[in-house]
């Protein structure tokens, strides 16, 4: 921070001034840093302060001159506050200028010239980013790319129908809310990309996302400002984001990413702010930033699980902070405990609470049956209005001759299912497939029959009891549930389960013994409430759903096997969900309502399963993590042909490649700096400060980039280009920090440095001008064609615009 005025009138850092005693007025300790300057409020009057200050300084001088004859009193530095001073006695013997002398020195409430500029710049950044994000926000007036999912899910919230998605609900809830508030009625079906919106009010949802997206550049500005204390660096970082076509495109549509990035950047900003409060623990602003960090963290986790990475970043930062506090022996263990507890509360308890609250709202809002029902347990479904289990009424006890559906009790276990397809050759016996299927379907219906075909169709129905031997006939294909000594297709330790026989005739391998968990012999089987196991008679194995997904031949449904390990696990337990028997009286069943925590747990398991189930398909070009930083290939948001309105998600290559370059540069500088430090090279003044900023601030940003990028290499799920954008934010901020030091450490003059930064900015703007059609849409011939507006801009073969 350059606070001190030298003889020549230039501002410089305290560290560069000679002298060994620094007199710091009490008022300075109460100041708030604002950018490069300070602001002071509530201090003593200006004139009085000056008087007091002068008398104090003269006292000091007297004291000093008493010890030494040669006191060189340089001009005290007049900073923005005018009362902060440097007194430079050349001897170190002085103890009169003790910093802790309780004395109010003057103040100056008018903020300095420097203070204004960040505000103006900040406003400029904000205006620019709003302009770039909101320009042509309603174009194209049709569904683009993933809007088909997230717009649809927003509508589900408005219509209150239950659905299933692999991401946590906050993002979609906010989209739904934004749509609701701007007059969207939830009636647009969002069937596929390219559908025209026509009269539907879609702009509100887009504007909401764009508004959050517009916050990113100002956030980046503030973060870099805080970390590097340099306005040009902050400005460069912010302009990188303002003029990046990728960030603009991603912010303009109904997507989760702008919301996610908003919360990620928010968390980082709050964390950085919190770090600067470290000298004033437990003050109001300390608590404020701590709690706000927690809120932002829960927000980012509530939008996508990618939010975990920023939680990790904040966690590591906090761990370092705590480690530092623990090593501070002036702090008693009790104080340390307070620090620890405050962080546990602010960064763990509060986010956790908010996160569960999000889910609570989600479950309260969505109370109608919808497309996501089948993924959840019977108990869960009974909560949903319109589901056949809601206030269900069906025969209470299982009887012979009933038609039933059987659901696995494993979380997100499917219905026992079969269909007109055989196991392929080479996979056990060439018989009909039996699988577990997550959706409701006619092929899930099974008929309960006696072992000996002696079903009495006329008499009163007889109940199935524990220990009874039954056959299960598939209603649609009339084959019996069957097992035999063949390996199961995936779980080789288990036996294969097939559909066998025609019109109900079969063999002894079709016999299953019913066992109710925790029941006695002769107990009837309660629909919905009993946990039932099916023991195969001839091989004494138990019907099991392994949870593994079958390959293409099994329609990617879940494998059903017969497990020789008879331990009771949810995989081998089933319940009877639907039960149709016209001869029995229907009884209204109040199914045990699940508690909120059970519902929460269940939905998380389902989400994680769903996420890991998103595997890349064979023969499909998919995006690899190494493609991303080099901007190898973008994503088509809308339009393929020459005649269509095309939007292509691709980062501004100039910006992205600059980011890549500065990343390498930063690593190099970091290595050199730490080597120098380790070798004990003496560093003077500014250089030391820069080195410190570089390692602390830049290191934090580098860590953020790594945390948001590297984990994708080990992810099995399908990856897309837009997954890189959170990491790109960090890398842009790092570029800002690095460039500052690059320009500083070389001893070129002030003007040249400014000039360099100016050229850099112009470069961004020019490249933005070149590539802006990517975001704001283009028509006409593709870029290969010289007649195209994008001709000559296809710098990489792999870009498809």
């Amino acid at each position: 921070m350059k606070l001190c005025e030298t003889d020549s009138g230039k501002y410089t850092s305290v560290l560069q001034l000679p002298g060994s005693v620094l007199i710091v007025p009490q008022a300075t300790l109460g100041g708030k840093p604002k950018g490069k300057g300070m602001q002071y409020h509530g201090n003593i009057g200006k004139d009085e302060g000056l008087k007091l200050y002068d008398s104090f300084v003269s006292h000091c001088q007297n004291e000093l001159s008493a010890y030494t004859s040669a006191v060189r009193h340089r001009k005290t530095c007049k900073t923005n506050e005018g009362a902060e001073c440097l007194s430079q006695p050349s001897s170190e013997t002085s103890n009169g200028a003790n910093k802790r002398i309780p004395k109010r020195a003057g103040h100056l409430s008018s903020p300095s010239r420097d203070d204004h500029v960040p505000v103006y710049t900040l406003v400029l950044v904000l205006v620019l980013s709003v302009c770039t994000r909101f320009y042509k926000i309603t174009e194209p007036p049709h569904v683009c790319w993933d809007e088909t999912h997230f717009g649809k899910m927003g509508s589900y919230y408005i219509n209150r129908t239950f659905f299933f998605d692999v991401h946590p609900p906050l993002g979609k809830m906010l989209i739904g809310l934004a749509g609701y508030l701007t007059g969207y009625d939830g009636t647009f079906p969002f069937i596929k990309p390219g559908d025209k919106y026509e009269h539907h009010n879609y702009w509100g949802m887009r504007a909401f996302c764009a508004a959050l997206g517009s916050c990113l550049p100002p956030f980046a500005f503030l973060i870099v400002l805080e970390l590097s204390h340099s306005k040009p660096a902050a400005l460069i970082a912010a302009s990188l984001l303002i003029f990046d076509t990728g960030c603009i495109t991603l912010s303009q549509y109904i997507l989760l990413d702008p919301i996610l990035m908003f919360f990620i950047m928010g968390s980082v900003l709050c964390m950085v702010r919190f770090n600067t409060q470290r000298l004033r623990p437990f003050s109001f602003s300390w608590w404020f930033w701590l709690l706000l960090t927690g809120v932002c963290l829960s927000g980012s986790l509530g939008v996508k699980f990618v939010g975990l990475f920023v939680i990790l970043l904040v966690g590591i930062n906090t761990a370092f902070d705590l480690w530092r506090l623990l090593g501070d022996l002036s702090l008693s263990l009790l104080d340390f405990g307070k620090h620890l507890l405050a962080r546990v509360f602010g960064l763990i308890m509060l986010p956790l609470f908010l996160y569960t609250t999000i889910f609570a709202v989600h479950f309260i809002v969505l109370n109608r049956s919808g497309p996501g029902d089948g993924f959840f347990s019977s108990a869960f479904q009974s909560r949903l209005i319109g589901n056949n289990l809601h206030n269900a009424s069906m025969p209470e006890y299982l009887a012979y001759g009933s038609v039933i559906t059987v659901k696995n009790l494993r979380i997100a276990g499917g219905y026992l299912h079969s269909h007109w397809h055989l196991y392929p050759e080479g996979v056990g016996a060439h018989q009909q497939q039996v699988t577990a299927y997550l959706h409701k379907d006619y092929n899930n219906l099974w008929l309960v029959k006696r072992p000996d075909n002696s079903d009495d169709l006329t008499g009163p129905p007889e109940l199935v009891r524990q220990g009874d031997i039954i056959r299960l006939e598939h209603k649609e294909t009339t084959r019996n549930l069957h097992s035999h000594f063949h390996e199961a297709p995936l779980t080789k330790k288990h036996l294969q389960v097939t559909g066998y026989g025609i019109n109900g005739s079969g063999d002894v391998n079709d016999l299953w013994q019913v066992e109710v968990c925790g029941g006695k012999k002769g107990d009837p089987v309660k629909v919905l409430r009993s946990k039932v196991r099916f023991l195969h008679r001839s091989t004494s194995c138990v019907l099991c759903s392994s949870g593994k997904t079958l390959p293409k031949w099994g329609w990617e449904q879940v494998e059903v096997t017969c497990s020789p390990y008879v331990k009771e696990t949810p995989n081998t337990q089933w319940n009877i969900e639907d039960h149709i028997n016209p001869k029995l009286p229907n009884i209204s069943l109040s199914v045990l309502k699940p508690t909120f925590l059970e519902v929460l747990w269940e939905s998380h398991i389902v989400m994680i399963r769903g996420n890991s189930g998103l595997k890349p398909k064979d023969n499909e070009m998919n995006s690899k993590p190494w493609h991303w930083p080099i901007n190898y290939q973008g994503l088509r948001f809308s339009g393929v042909n020459e005649t269509e309105y095309r939007v292509y998600l691709l980062g501004n290559p100039v910006i992205w490649w600059l980011n890549l370059l500065s990343l390498a540069l930063f690593v190099l500088m970091l290595t050199v700096a730490s080597l120098a430090k380790q070798r004990g090279v003496k560093m003077e003044g500014m250089r030391k400060v820069h080195c410190h900023t570089l390692m602390e601030g830049g290191g934090m940003l580098l860590l953020g980039w790594l945390l948001h990028y590297l984990p994708f290499y080990i992810m099995g799920r399908i990856l897309y280009y837009h997954h890189y954008f959170p990491a790109m934010l960090f890398s842009s901020m790092l570029t800002g920090t690095t460039n500052l030091h690059l320009l500083f450490s070389s001893s070129i003059s002030h003007h040249l440095m400014r000039g360099g930064q100016f050229i850099l900015l112009l470069g961004f703007i020019y490249s933005f001008y070149l590539f802006h059609p990517l975001s704001y849409g283009m028509r006409g011939p593709l870029a290969q064609d010289p007649a195209s507006s994008m001709a000559g801009l296809r710098w990489m073969e792999s870009w498809e615009f």
Binding site: Y565, E797, S798
Partner: protein, 720 residues
């Protein structure tokens, strides 16, 4: 006086102890290794490579680098094995020409020498000889390590090199001022390379050692008493020994591998044509002396550069696409063009000049160059290779490729193709046999001839689909073709030509790839070729390993209940888990208290404890945790390297507890008793399980059932 006496007596004692444990190790590992005289578990897998080594036939094994196979092959070579055995079934009896003892003896020796290495390692970490002895006892009686050492398997060799690497590094690090220390650093580099050469898993320990070296080097850099020059030299030497040397050795293994295996064999097809041509026999015999430049009128077979899903040749046959597919879409009903993974006379195509009608090579030959327009005529059916705006059968977004038949339905022939040599050096480069990778671009639609990866159903004889890809972008191997077999066509008549096609190609030139090119291709194939991984009956997940909830049946006697099972000594595994937990708790407590400047133990002991933790707990973690991220089929034996490090942890924790935590003599005495009791129970457990370890004597069904200590163990019971 004692000072004079002690070193001598102590020295003798060490040697004796070391000798004793080595002897015991040899007895437990080598005793009766020729039994059973049958293929045991993965011997069936390594055996096939052994036979190929003996016959010097080329093979590719994507599971690991060749050094491990070479070590096993050395045994076979010394035993005089001729490679004649069919490795097809676990439990198959060995024929008399198989030197069972010498096949198994190298892994057994490696497994035995792990014990003295463990001894030295514990001593090197700064712990007492008692602890070292304890570590050896535990390892000696570890049934799973014994089983794995006694057969023709690679884990024991791997563990041997890992321990050697760690030991030599510690030796290097401790011996600050001896000039001999650089020798130890070399040994470390060499054994790291060997470890990786046996199995890629060795990489984990290598990275651990690199990390440790980095930290130590960093401290060295911080040492300001050294001059800059000295520091640079120190860093450079470490870099040479631990990075450059292993890389050179690793490449060296491949050099030996490729030099030894010069004959063509069953895995040829996975490699490129150029690679195959460098092997003796096989393709080399056919392609030797083919004309190099492809000319108008040449007869060629076109092979895909990509080997996914299988390498195949562009093919056509006298069957048409069905008029309607199963899903109701229509086709052009023209002749099928497919990709066929076997050699066939229908793979021959003739390159024709669109401007002329001649099908023979004029003299002098007019070579085809990059950018030339050609037609491709199917040799046996005389149909032109054609593509048009009709959806392909399996990939509807691409164009159908057909042999053109004129049905007079206003569907004109579109049979012009532009030759696009991808790996060209100049823009007028000539299309070369085997060497050129060519993209065939359709002139009318600029679609690229490409293997889609899907297979056709019954009507296409399950052959692979070939399509014209309109949105082809970037470099895709599936769109590249090279000429494999090639001859100049000499006859104009269809009949004569058919005869010509059926006769083998001939003449002679030899083309050789450089070693580096071959190495890179082989390495790339090893890393990218994925076998269809399915679950195995004895595969398990890493979580089951910690508590040993799983086992592997290695061998079962054909008539009795005698069997060999990979089951660990359950007592060992339990106390190893316990020691791990104790260590972590201890470490955390010390760490936090030291931060508050409370020093419970002297600095030396603390550093010793940390180093031991890095080696043992770190060794366990790096060899275990990565498996959670792997998607391949995993077995219990993958855990054995981690287990070895974990067992080494036990005596270290015990010694630390004994010296620093237990203060009163009474406590120490009690602790000593506990240790003795545990050792006894380790022995009892070892003894009880040994029939399953050594495969004899055969137990009765009841005894076996009694040994099934965990429900999840699959012990085989013969039904009477």
């Amino acid at each position: 006086m004692q000072c004079v006496k002690l070193p001598i007596s102590v020295r003798v004692e060490i040697n004796l102890l070391l000798m004793a444990v080595t002897g015991l190790a040899l007895v437990t590992r080598l005793y009766g290794i020729h039994f059973p005289r049958a293929v045991v578990f993965d011997e069936v897998y390594y055996g096939q490579f052994l036979s190929l080594y003996m016959k010097q036939v080329f093979f590719i094994d994507e599971s690991g680098p060749p050094f491990g196979h070479m070590v096993l092959a050395l045994g076979a070579y010394l035993g005089g094995f001729d490679g004649n055995f069919v490795w097809n079934r676990i439990g198959a009896e060995y024929t008399s020409n198989v030197p069972v003892w010498s096949l198994r003896v190298i892994p057994a020796f490696a497994g035995s020498f792990c014990i003295p290495l463990a001894y030295l390692l514990v001593v090197e970490l700064g712990y007492s000889h008692f602890s070292a002895l304890g570590a050896c006892m535990l390892l000696l009686m570890e049934n799973s390590l014994i089983v794995q050492s006694r057969f023709m398997l690679l884990e024991s060799v791997l563990i041997f090199f890992l321990l050697l690497a760690v030991l030599s590094y510690l030796h290097f690090h401790k011996a600050r001022n001896s000039s001999f220390r650089w020798f130890w650093l070399m040994i470390c580099g060499v054994s790291c390379a060997c470890g990786i050469g046996v199995k890629y898993m060795g990489m984990f320990t290598y990275f651990l050692l690199l990390g440790l070296t980095a930290v130590h080097t960093w401290q060295l850099i911080g040492d300001r008493t050294l001059s800059h020059g000295k520091v640079v030299v120190q860093v450079l030497v470490r870099f040479l020994a631990l990075v450059v040397l292993p890389v050179i050795m690793y490449i060296g293994f491949f050099y030996v591998h490729l030099t030894l295996l010069y004959r063509s064999g069953p895995h040829d097809q996975m490699m490129s044509s150029a690679f195959q041509a460098s092997l003796e026999g096989g393709l080399a015999r056919i392609t030797q002396g083919q004309p190099l430049d492809v000319a108008l009128g040449s007869q060629v077979t076109l092979r895909t550069v990509s080997s996914k899903p299988v390498p195949c040749w562009l093919h056509s046959h006298k069957v048409n696409y069905p008029i309607r597919y199963e899903n109701g879409r229509g086709s052009s009903h023209q002749q099928q063009v497919t990709c066929y993974p076997f050699k066939d006379v229908n793979n021959w195509w003739i390159i024709k000049d669109p401007g002329r009608h001649t099908l023979v090579v004029s003299s002098p030959p007019r070579p085809v160059r990059h950018g030339d327009i050609i037609q491709l005529l199917h040799g046996m059916t005389s149909r032109y290779l054609n593509t048009h705006d009709v959806a392909a059968p399996m990939s509807p977004h691409s164009q159908e490729v057909s042999g053109y038949i004129d049905f007079n339905v206003s569907m004109p022939a579109q049979n012009l193709w532009r030759v696009d040599i991808v790996n060209r050096e100049s823009d007028r480069e000539i299309w070369k046999t085997i060497l050129s990778e060519v993209r065939l671009v359709h002139v009318n639609t600029s679609a690229v001839l490409k293997l889609s990866g899907a297979s056709l159903p019954e009507w296409g004889f399950k052959q692979l689909e070939v399509v014209g890809d309109k949105i082809y972008k970037g470099y895709q191997q599936s769109g590249m073709w090279n000429v494999e077999e090639h001859r100049y066509g000499r006859s104009q008549e269809q009949k004569e030509r058919e005869l010509e096609l059926k006769s083998p190609t001939h003449s002679d030139i030899k083309r050789n790839l450089t070693f580096m090119a071959k190495f890179l291709e082989l390495q790339w194939k090893m890393l990218t070729v994925k076998n269809e991984e399915s679950e195995h009956k004895y595969s398990s997940s890493p979580l089951e390993w910690i508590t040993m909830d799983t086992n592997i049946a290695y061998w079962l006697h054909p008539s009795s209940n005698a069997q060999i099972q990979l089951i660990g000594n359950i007592v060992n595994w339990t106390i190893a888990n316990l020691a791990l937990v104790v260590y972590c708790l201890m470490f955390l407590t010390y760490l936090l208290r030291r931060r508050r400047k409370v020093e419970d133990i002297p600095q030396d002991s603390w550093e010793q404890l940390v180093l031991a933790g890095v080696i043992c707990v770190g060794g366990w973690a790096v060899n275990y945790l990565p498996f959670f991220l792997m998607e391949k089929t995993l077995f219990l034996y993958h855990y054995l390297p981690a287990l070895t490090f974990k067992i080494l942890q036990i005596p270290i924790v015990v010694e630390h507890l004994y010296i620093h935590v237990l203060k009163s003599p009474a406590q120490r005495k009690a602790f000593g008793v506990v240790i003795l009791a545990v050792l006894c129970s380790v022995y009892v457990s070892y003894h009880n399980l040994s029939p399953l370890t050594y495969g004899q004597p055969a137990l009765s069904s009841d005894e076996l059932a009694a040994l099934r200590w965990r429900e999840s163990w699959d012990i085989l019971l013969r039904k009477r």
